[in-house]
């Protein structure tokens, strides 16, 4: 299972492709279950980069945990949450994310 992630050009904030746009949290990102879907996500990412919406586009491994998307690698977990040493900052700081988690 994979999802599409990037950083938003204007402010660098980590985003994930979800429901036709870029979400600030990973939980409901669009999942690619097979190679064809992965290729589609990659094409969306390349187009968004070319359109100057996002930078540093990547496809990352994820799993589902309690109905929400969760990255597999620690690096991507930290990107999705925020610095582990400052839980008051990043995605983890916003009430919405806490509820979602």
């Amino acid at each position: 299972m994979k999802v599409l992630t990037a950083n938003r050009l204007s402010d660098g904030i980590a985003v994930w492709y979800a429901d036709g746009g870029w979400a600030e949290t990973v939980g409901h990102a669009d999942i690619a279950h097979d190679k064809a879907a992965e290729d589609r996500l990659e094409a969306i990412g390349a187009a968004a980069a070319a359109n100057n919406e996002v930078v540093d586009v990547n496809i990352i491994d994820v799993i589902m945990v309690d109905g929400l998307v969760e990255p597999v690698r620690l690096r991507e977990k930290i990107r999705a949450a925020g610095p582990t040493i400052r839980t008051d900052l990043g995605k983890q700081a916003s009430p919405e994310t806490v509820r979602a988690a």
Binding site: N7, D11, G12, N52, I85, G90
Partner: protein
């Protein structure tokens, strides 16, 4: 301290205008990321895990209170209320929006600051002894030479696209507090038998994945030849440094592969062509730059001795801080103060907006408006009258910056690691915090004595782990963080690269392992004056390996 002249002002303003335009064009989609990336890097803008990061230059670590106050303002207005002081004596902000960076740079320019050459394959911020100008043991202030090097290297057309980044450090004392032997060029300012100033020149030091101690290629270079000689070194490097492999592109690899004798010959030959040409530093120019660094007018404050004596009696915590964080000044009525940014359990090198402003106030009131950033990620007040030390201490207590741990085990250098950095393979800050908490007792830390512990979250070694008495390198192994320990590193006048002690430790094990190493040292040192590094050099790794791994061998 150095004040911009008209040229500097115009240059920085022009750069702000130029980069602001580039940012606007990028945001408008007129230039691509591939076109923009090298431009943003030349202006200190990186992309990290969570956001952009802006690295701001603090030349040779010297700041005034107005500048530090502006950094506090930027932290509050554009970032998330804090900044991170780095091992290149700079400061980084972790959360700026690209769209805000033109405004940030304009604010910085208003206090003679910028982010130029804090990234890219150019000559980076020149670092210097953080006690420069105050140290009792220096022959002269190294900062005028660092400033001359800054002026020479800023947008130097020949050296803006080197094979790789290039770092220079200068010290003016025998006791090296600037880690010059870990730099591409290390300069030791000294006097010859005739009393003239010049430099011992070291080349080819560095850390990263291939740590090397710099080699001395000249014992005495007259000060007038500083730029011609550095130019000769850079020319040889620019010509022969490897561009085929990023990991072999630093000058340390060139020095290693060419051999010290041959590279010295090449540099000296190049220098013969240059030495008597227009790069010779005129005495008048040296004097003019020196004048900018004239020490503050330190008036006699003989009441300091009694004041300190009395304050020591009144407060044990002040007394401990005095012993640990205050060092001798060349002027006996004064002292240099280390403001620890390593509070127990805190993030090494981080300071909040209000702490920056409060420290700026203290510097203005008690320290002749002068501050330094140390490469060990602390702040320094280089000139404080001993009579004012108690007042400074009390003010630092109020803002939580009076931890008396300078040079002790909790005075840890740590890179941002995987909590922020896009290159990191493991977290380093949480490891630093846990070790700091484990050794929280100041009595215990003082009993252990001087111990330099340094942590990097990847092989690039921004946390200087190779030269820690105890070094920790975080790597990713099978999806988990694993921490390798090196012992016996050092970044002073006896620089050495630490040796890997054995298999790595998980994040759950690493603090116990460090404690075991420290306990082993305490058990074998000859006396309390034998520092960890001295004891390690005497006994070698065997007793530490035994303590860490003997059980495993037996079990196997």
């Amino acid at each position: 301290m150095y004040r911009y002249d008209e040229f500097d002002h115009d240059f920085v303003q022009a750069r702000v205008a130029e980069f602001s335009d580039q940012v606007q064009r990028r945001l408008a989609g007129e230039i691509t990321e591939d076109q923009f990336r090298p431009l943003r890097l030349m202006n200190g803008v990186y992309l990290q895990l969570h956001a952009y990061m802006l690295r701001i230059a603090v030349p040779y670590g010297t700041l005034n209170s107005r500048q530090l106050r502006m950094l506090g303002h930027i932290a509050r207005k554009y970032d998330k209320g804090y900044g991170h002081f780095t091992t290149r004596q700079n400061i980084q902000f972790n959360w700026p929006a690209l769209s805000d960076i033109p405004a940030i740079l304009a604010d910085l320019a208003s206090v003679e600051m910028h982010a130029i050459q804090t990234s890219g394959n150019c000559i980076r911020n020149v670092t210097a002894d953080h006690f420069a100008g105050a140290a009792a043991d220096e022959v002269a202030d190294p900062r005028p030479y660092a400033e001359i090097l800054r002026q020479w290297s800023s947008v130097h057309p020949e050296f803006s696209f080197l094979p790789r980044k290039f770092k220079i450090a200068v010290t003016g004392a025998e006791r090296d507090r600037a880690a010059i032997q870990t730099h591409d060029i290390g300069l030791h300012l000294k006097k010859n038998a005739a009393g003239e100033l010049g430099f011992a020149v070291y080349v080819g030091g560095g850390q990263g994945r291939t740590p090397m101690v710099a080699k001395k290629i000249r014992d005495f270079l007259p000060e007038a030849d500083l730029l011609s000689y550095c130019t000769a070194i850079l020319r040889v490097y620019n010509l022969y440094g490897r561009r085929d492999n990023k990991y072999k592109a630093r000058i340390k690899i060139l020095v290693h592969e060419t051999g010290v004798e041959e590279i010295t010959r090449q540099i000296e030959a190049e220098w013969q062509e240059l030495r008597d040409a227009d790069l010779k530093l005129p005495e008048a120019d040296i004097q003019a730059i020196n004048a900018y660094f004239a020490p503050p007018a330190l008036v006699d404050r003989p009441e300091g001795d009694d004041a300190v004596k009395q304050a020591r009696l009144d407060s044990k915590s002040f007394s401990q801080w005095l012993d640990q964080n205050v060092v001798t000044h060349r002027y006996p009525d004064y002292a240099a103060v280390t403001i620890s940014l390593k509070g127990i359990g805190e993030v090494p090198g981080d300071a909040t907006d209000s702490q920056m402003e409060a420290v700026a106030d203290i510097a203005e009131k008690y320290a002749f408006d002068e501050l330094r950033v140390s490469h060990e990620q602390n702040l320094i007040l280089p000139h404080v009258a001993r009579a004012d030390l108690k007042a400074v201490y009390d003010a630092l207590v109020e803002i939580g910056l009076a931890t008396a741990n300078s040079n002790l085990i909790s005075d840890i250098i740590s890179c941002p690691g995987l909590d922020y950095c896009a290159l990191a393979t493991a977290r380093s800050i949480p490891v630093a915090q846990e070790i700091s908490r484990r050794f929280a007792s100041l009595e215990r830390q003082r009993e252990i004595g001087e111990l330099k512990l340094k942590i990097s979250g990847c092989i690039n070694a921004c946390g200087h782990h190779h030269v820690g008495h105890i070094g920790i390198l975080g790597v990713e192994k099978k999806g988990s963080e694993l921490y390798q320990v090196t012992l016996g590193g050092s970044a002073d006048e006896n620089t050495s690269v630490g040796e890997i002690i054995g298999r790595g430790f998980s994040s759950e094990e690493i603090t116990d392992a460090i404690e075991q190493i420290v306990d082993t040292y305490l058990g074998l040192r000859l006396n309390p004056d034998e520092r960890f590094i001295d004891a390690y050099r005497r006994v070698g790794p065997a007793p530490f390996k035994e303590a860490l791994y003997a059980g495993e061998t037996k079990a196997a």
